[in-house]
Each structure stands twice: as structure tokens, then as C-alpha cells.
């Protein structure tokens, strides 16, 4: 019985005008989005490679580091950013590791989410409307198609009266709804996967090592799994609303409202709510407080130095000792402050993430950026890489300075190491699949749960449907 209804549904869906519209739009939008993302990636890759080349050419040995300023590390753009651009644009791409720049965080610059200096102005439109990456295509376009395919699936048959004809036969209701769900799913994933494979072959194929130790295939497959789960959620939501309403027009109005709520309102509202539930100081206020601490510290240093002068113990060594002592105090104070702020920010972020998970769209968007290596994990990893680089620099470079002048011209003097030793290089690594899975697992489970709940609700709604 399932096969008969499934075959009928498939035939109905695949021969409908809307299927060809979806196929046509998928075949245009997905390759176009991939092409735009690929070009954008190429631009960022060129920029990264050029920066790296220039840096490495100018800082071959330790002596170059002394002459040409502080060592830097560069963040490579993610080739998977065609799946989700995520935080790629706003994420810092240079890690500066001064010996004693700002106290505490060696990768302090990373805390600033600035526009990249090499970002052309016209790309600002990406901020207004968001990129045309796969996440946008799935979360906006495909979910809309899901609504178009499902709003009349049951309500339409009720209105037409065809459902009565099916139900007067010996057909279990679960067969009907299951066949509808499967056929709509198939009718939507055929254009989606065709367009995905096509655009992958056209624009992305050469970029990836699909197999081998650095294979990107698991990430791509995981991205596709998340996409299919989100499509499933919207199909089941559509079936639920369609089974609860008597008219297709009512069904589509409710579904569009749900779509706006899930895509636009809940994720944004969760940010506002988390700020209300767990307020923390703004970054601007924190910076002002830090500046005040620095100023107070400098005042204290001046007072101490004046005392030295009055006591007749003034010498550059004594002054340096006082500065070092106060610097250490300041460093520890600001480090504690940063730790505290970071902890609070992480708590707020966790609240936001969990609130946003009320929407399946959020359970899709955030994990997709992690899968694409353009999310929070990549940002954290970049910070860790910078810290690691700083450690190497401390061992091989900074620790070999005899005197460091803080004020009056500054600079490192009397380098005791081997000037001609090769300059340490910033190393970067791929986020492991396991780390990503650990991070996004709750979202994966939630998407599965949303699918099960919505399908069960649609099933119960359809079971209770009064066929008269």
C-alpha cells in the first residue's frame, strides 16, 4: 500500500510545475552560490598566500625578526567556506605575538572582530544581506521550497476531496503520511543533490582531497547530512500544519509565519534574551576599565619612582625593577579580568546558543560554520595556535634578550641567541572531525528529535483528522 501511494505521490510531485521550478532554481542558485563562494575564497586565499610569502621572505632568520618587528601568524581561509562563510569575514586573520604588547593575552588582537584591512568596500554588502553560501540556500531557499511542497499535501487533498477517496479504501493512515513525507523529501533532494554534485564538480572538485589523511569528504558529507535533516524538519512541519488545517490557504499562511519565526525571529531573539538573562559589560566598557587600570598603574609607577628619587636610590636598574614589578602586577590583574570576562562571555554565548536551538534553523546554521571551519572552533583554534606560536617564540627568541627597555624608544637589545637561526614559523592545523562532532553533536541530536517530534505530531494530527 505504501508503494502505491508513494509512487502516486512521486509521480504527482515530479510531474508538477513546482518541481521543475525547484529544479531550475536549484540548478541556477546552488552552482551560482558555489561559484561566488569559490571566487571569494580564491580572493582570500591569494591575499593569505601573498601576506605569508611577504612575511616569510622578510623574516627568514631570527635577526630579521629583530630588525623587522614582531612575529606574526596568518590564518588560512577555509576551502570549505562554500558550505558556510560563518565568521570567516569577521574573524581576524593575523595573530600578533609581541613579547610584551598588551599584557595577558598574546593573541589579544584576535579579540577584536575587525574587518580585514584588505576587504574591499563593495563587499560590505555581504554584511547587509549575508553571503550566498550553501547555508543561506538551504536555510532560506530550500526551506521555502519545503513549505511550497507540503502546505497542500494534506490540506489540499482535504479541500479537493481526494483524501476521502483514499481513506475509503483499506489504507492505514500512517502509509499515507509516510508516503507523502518520503516522496516530498525525494522530490526536494533530487534537485538539491543534483545541483550540489554539479557545482562541486564544476567549481570545487580540484580544491579538495576527497580521500586520504586530509580528506574533506567527511566534513562535506556531514554538511549534507545537516542539510537533509533541516529539509526533513521543514517537510515534517509542513505536513503537521497541513494535517491540522482544512484549507491549503490557511496552511501556507501558518507555515510562512513559522518560517519567519524559525529563521528570523528565534535566533535573533535568543541573542537579546541571553543579554537580558545574563548581562555582561560591553567590550567598550571593558576596554575603558582596562585603560583606567593601566593609567592607575602608570601613576603608581611614577609615584614609586619619585619615592626612589627622594630616597636617593634612583638608578635605571631600580627603575626597571619597579616597572617590571608593576608590569607583572598589571599583567596579572588584566589577565584575571580577561579570564573573568571570557568566562562570562562564554556563559552568555552558551545561553544564546541553547536558546537559539529552539529553532531548528539555528541547529543547522551554527554547526555548518563549525563543519566549514569558519566558526567559533576555528576562532578558538587560531587563538590556541597563536599561543603556541608565542610559546615557541619565547623559547627560541624572546628568552634570549638580555634587556628589554619599556619606555623611551623601546626595542629589544642585546640578543644573545644565534642571529642566523631560522625564524620560527606559525603552524596551523585542521580541526579534527572528532572535535567538530563533539561540538555539534547536540545540534545533530536536536535536528533528529525535531524531525521525530514533528513527524509524530503530523501523524497524530492526521490520525485525528475527521475525514467527513
Amino acid at each position: 500500500m505504501f508503494r502505491t501511494i508513494f509512487y502516486k505521490e512521486i509521480l504527482e510531485n515530479l510531474t508538477s510545475r513546482r518541481f521543475f521550478i525547484v529544479l531550475f532554481l536549484c540548478l541556477i542558485i546552488i552552482p551560482l552560490g558555489t561559484y561566488v563562494s569559490t571566487r571569494d575564497f580564491q580572493y582570500r586565499l591569494d591575499s593569505y598566500q601573498e601576506s605569508l610569502r611577504q612575511y616569510e621572505n622578510s623574516r627568514k632568520v631570527l635577526e630579521d625578526l629583530i630588525d623587522k618587528g614582531e612575529p606574526e601568524g596568518f590564518r588560512a581561509p577555509s576551502p570549505l567556506s562554500f558550505l558556510s562563510l560563518g565568521l570567516e569575514i569577521v574573524m581576524p586573520n593575523v595573530a600578533q605575538t609581541p613579547r610584551k604588547g598588551r599584557p595577558g593575552l598574546v593573541d589579544k588582537k584576535l579579540d577584536k572582530m575587525n574587518l580585514n584591512s584588505d576587504q574591499p568596500l563593495d563587499n560590505l554588502y555581504e554584511f547587509y544581506h549575508g553571503p550566498l553560501d550553501l547555508v543561506f540556500i538551504i536555510s532560506v531557499i530550500m526551506t521555502f521550497f519545503c513549505i511550497l511542497f507540503t502546505y497542500g499535501a494534506i490540506a489540499g487533498e482535504k479541500e479537493q476531496g481526494t483524501l476521502k477517496y483514499i481513506l475509503c479504501n483499506s489504507v492505514p493512515r500512517y502509509c499515507i503520511i509516510l508516503a507523502k513525507m518520503c516522496s516530498i523529501f525525494l522530490a526536494l533532494i533530487i534537485p538539491f543533490l543534483t545541483a550540489m554534485i554539479l557545482s562541486f564538480l564544476l567549481f570545487q572538485g580540484k580544491r579538495f582531497a576527497l580521500f586520504g589523511p586530509n580528506s574533506t569528504l567527511p566534513y562535506i558529507l556531514l554538511g549534507v547530512l545537516f542539510s537533509l535533516l533541516l529539509i526533513g524538519v521543514f517537510i515534517n512541519l509542513g505536513l503537521l500544519i497541513s494535517s491540522l488545517t482544512k484549507q491549503a490557504a490557511s496552511s501556507i499562511i501558518i507555515l510562512l509565519f513559522c518560517w519567519i519565526l524559525l529563521y528570523g525571529i528565534i535566533p535573533r531573539l535568543s541573542v537579546v534574551l541571553s543579554k537580558i538573562v545574563y548581562p555582561i559589560k560591553s567590550q567598550q566598557l571593558i576596554n575603558l576599565e582596562k585603560n583606567q587600570i593601566r593609567l592607575d598603574n602608570e601613576k603608581d609607577v611614577e609615584i614609586e619612582i619619585n619615592r626612589l628619587i627622594i630616597a636617593g636610590k634612583n638608578s635605571s636598574i631600580n627603575q626597571q625593577a619597579i616597572r617590571d614589578e608593576y608590569w607583572a602586577k598589571l599583567e596579572s590583574q588584566i589577565q584575571n579580568m580577561d579570564r573573568d570576562i571570557e568566562k562570562k562571555q562564554n556563559t552568555q554565548l552558551m545561553i544564546t546558543t541553547n536558546l537559539a536551538r529552539l529553532s531548528p534553523v539555528s541547529c543547522f546554521i551554527r554547526p555548518m560554520s563549525e563543519i566549514s571551519h569558519t566558526g567559533w572552533l576555528r576562532y578558538q583554534q587560531f587563538r590556541e595556535e597563536a599561543a603556541r606560536f608565542r610559546k615557541i617564540l619565547n623559547e627560541q627568541f624572546y628568552s634570549k634578550f638580555e634587556v628589554f627597555e619599556e619606555k623611551g624608544g623601546g626595542g629589544y637589545t642585546n640578543f644573545k641567541g644565534d642571529d642566523n637561526a631560522p625564524a620560527p614559523r606559525f603552524t596551523t592545523s585542521q580541526i579534527s572531525f572528532n572535535d567538530i562532532m563533539r561540538n555539534i553533536f547536540p545540534d545533530l541530536v536536536l535536528l533528529v528529535i525535531y524531525n521525530l517530534i514533528l513527524f509524530s505530531a503530523a501523524f497524530v494530527g492526521f490520525l485525528k483528522y475527521d475525514a467527513r
Partner: protein, 245 residues
């Protein structure tokens, strides 16, 4: 009446959620090869009776039986023995007549039918040959009703339920439709038809029941009606005092 009834309603009542008593203690039986016509005004309970037989709604009290099977207890088994034709046969407009027939035949358990089998059934209900592979959305109401009855024919179930099947049909189409019903009757089908059309009911019905406010207030056999004017009887019952429940 000593045969086993294919369709049987026993003390059947239905009260809707809004409190309206749509059907009140209905008892009726339809034997094989018999056409039972239910007459009554709008809201008399005719369609509710058919909906209860099809398990579209559960009864408040009482039981419906199709071929001896309690519809409420085992609806899927009971539905194997019944076909349904509604007032407006609405099928899948984008499918051809044959595709619709194929789909509903398979739902009715007829899995191995050929194109020619479908064509034969459609010819039997006087559908033109050129309509067989035409999309149903281009069909007139009469053609759709014929296709509806061909679905019932192809299922070959012992019971056929018809809910005002001739409403809105022109006289010729209605006459053709009744002719097909006559053939089904001859094949031994038990037919329960709700209708407003007193003349057609008298013409085709072996028994006629008049319903009013959910009750079966009168039942006459074809023989009994030879000595009575059905129109007069019907109008008298419609005019009589409302039944106080």
C-alpha cells in the same frame, strides 16, 4: 430478508462535538443485490450514516457492519468490502482517467490489472475512448461521476455507498448513472444511496428510507410503494412536527 446483510447499522447514533445529534438510533440492513435509498432533507443524517459506514467518523453509540465486520473495531478489514462514490467525484486532476483508475484499483487491492482491463471498465460506464488518457481536470461532472463509479466497479466490493451521486447531473447522465447502478445490483452488490431525488430513488430503490432529524422515520419496499405516492409520503413527513430529542 433471510440473507446475510452486507451493510448493517445497529442502534447507530452520532452526536457531534457541538452537541448536535446527527443520527439517532438508526437500524438498517442492506442485502446483497439490493438498492437502499435514503431520502431526507439537508441535515437529516444521510451523509452522517455513510460517513459512519466508511469510518470517517466514530459513532457515539451503536455499530456499523460491512460484510459482518464491525467497522469501528476493524476499519481496514471492513473497507476491503466497500466502495464509495460521492456527490462530487474529485480525483487527481493532473492524472489521466486511467492513471486515477490504476491508483484507486491498487488501493482497492487489484494489483495485476492491465491497461485493457481499465479501458473495459471505462467503456462499461460509457466513458468515451478518447477520455481514457485525458487528464481528469478536463472532465465534466458527468464524466467524473462515471469515473467514480468505474473505481467502485473495478474494486468489485460487495457493498457500494453512494452519497447523492446524481446531484448536479443532467437527466441523461443521471439516467446512465442509474443504469450502471442497476447492473451492479444485478451483480449482487448491496447498494446504499443517499439522495434528494425522489423519482430516481423510486426508480432504482428496492427499499426507501426517509430520514428526518437523524431518525429513520419511514421505510417502504418497492412493492409497498406501488400503492403509495412516494412524493406525497415524503412531503407529509417533511411537514410533520419536529422530533423532540
Amino acid at each position: 430478508m433471510n440473507q446475510k446483510a452486507i451493510l448493517k447499522a445497529s442502534d447507530l447514533s452520532k452526536r457531534y462535538e457541538d452537541g448536535v445529534l446527527a443520527l439517532d438510533n438508526l437500524n438498517l440492513e442492506v442485502q446483497p443485490g439490493e438498492v437502499y435509498c435514503l431520502l431526507g432533507a439537508n441535515g437529516a443524517g444521510k451523509t452522517t450514516t455513510i460517513n459512519l459506514f466508511l469510518n470517517f467518523i466514530p459513532p457515539t453509540t451503536g455499530t456499523c457492519y460491512i460484510n459482518g465486520i464491525d467497522v469501528n473495531r476493524d476499519p481496514l478489514e471492513a473497507k476491503k468490502y466497500v466502495s464509495f462514490v460521492s456527490e462530487n467525484v474529485m480525483l487527481y486532476g493532473n492524472f489521466t482517467a486511467r492513471q486515477n483508475l490504476d491508483f484507486f484499483a491498487k488501493l482497492g487491492g487489484k494489483l495485476n490489472l492491465t491497461k485493457e482491463d481499465y479501458y473495459q471498465v471505462m467503456r462499461r460506464v460509457s466513458l468515451q475512448d478518447n477520455a481514457f488518457e485525458q487528464r481528469v481536470k478536463t472532465f465534466s461532472k458527468g464524466m467524473r461521476q462515471k469515473l467514480g463509479i468505474s473505481i467502485a466497479i473495478i474494486k468489485n466490493s460487495p457493498a457500494v455507498l453512494l452519497d447523492e451521486p446524481t446531484a448536479g447531473l443532467d437527466p441523461k447522465a443521471a439516467a446512465e448513472f442509474l443504469e450502471i447502478l442497476g447492473e451492479l445490483k444485478k451483480e449482487g452488490k448491496a447498494i446504499l444511496m443517499s439522495t434528494h431525488d425522489i423519482f430516481r430513488a423510486k426508480e432504482i430503490g428496492d427499499r426507501i428510507g426517509i430520514m428526518k432529524e437523524g431518525r429513520l422515520v419511514l421505510e417502504r419496499t418497492r412493492e409497498e410503494l406501488q400503492f403509495e405516492d412516494l412524493v406525497k409520503v415524503y412531503i407529509n413527513y417533511m411537514k410533520s412536527e419536529p422530533i423532540i430529542v
